[in-house]
Subunit: 104 residues, 2 copies
Amino acid sequence: MDRSKRERLESKGWKVGTVSDFLELTPEETMLVEIKLALSRNLKERRQELMTQSELATKLSSSQPRIAKAENGDASVSIDLLLRAILATGATPQDIGKIIASVG
Amino acid sequence: MDRSKRERLESKGWKVGTVSDFLELTPEETMLVEIKLALSRNLKERRQELMTQSELATKLSSSQPRIAKAENGDASVSIDLLLRAILATGATPQDIGKIIASVG
DNA sequence: AAATTTCATATCAAATATGATATAAATAAG
DNA sequence: CTTATTTATATCATATTTGATATGAAATTT
């Protein structure tokens, strides 16, 4: 992994090996991170077609800042919130299944 | 929903309408619950083929009681933990995608 | 049927995720 | 350029999720 990518991930709170790239992340941990990032990206795409972050936040009884973090792949956002957000954009379990299956 | 099913869900911590069945759960909330239950069931199946709850707990730096709850669809278990557990059984993102897509 | 292994339930302190708020930065509209 | 709208960042008290531990219940073995 190059320096700029590492710094991008670290700035979002992800624990990226400071010494030897991803060597501290097991394959399972890496897959989980990638799943979360795929969900983030997809949430952003879907939401942008439909409404503002504030509108989605209201639907979810959440807050605009939290939606921003969800869409930016912040490590503090749980998969639970990501899925609730994506479902609130009208996505089906099939849609979500595709997003996750596309990782790897 | 019949009485016995409601009582089964409520005993696991799920908020099920006490008066009129699922009327308090939006379709999105229902889908999320079903996704979690599908993941639970699948985790149990996969894990049983391979190891004990204690062994899986060690792999995850978790605890046997928490794995039990994960496999029993307890509401206190996050999707994050469910996915980490399923990945620790060797599941791929494709496998997980299929499980979720099968809901609905 | 006693002993052992495996799984379920209860409690709890610590860690993590949460929504709220304030505000800055970016983008779009006028 | 100025203003309005939308999105990003920071802080924080609260709520939820967590692993640990103790222990009970079931199932399996001997």
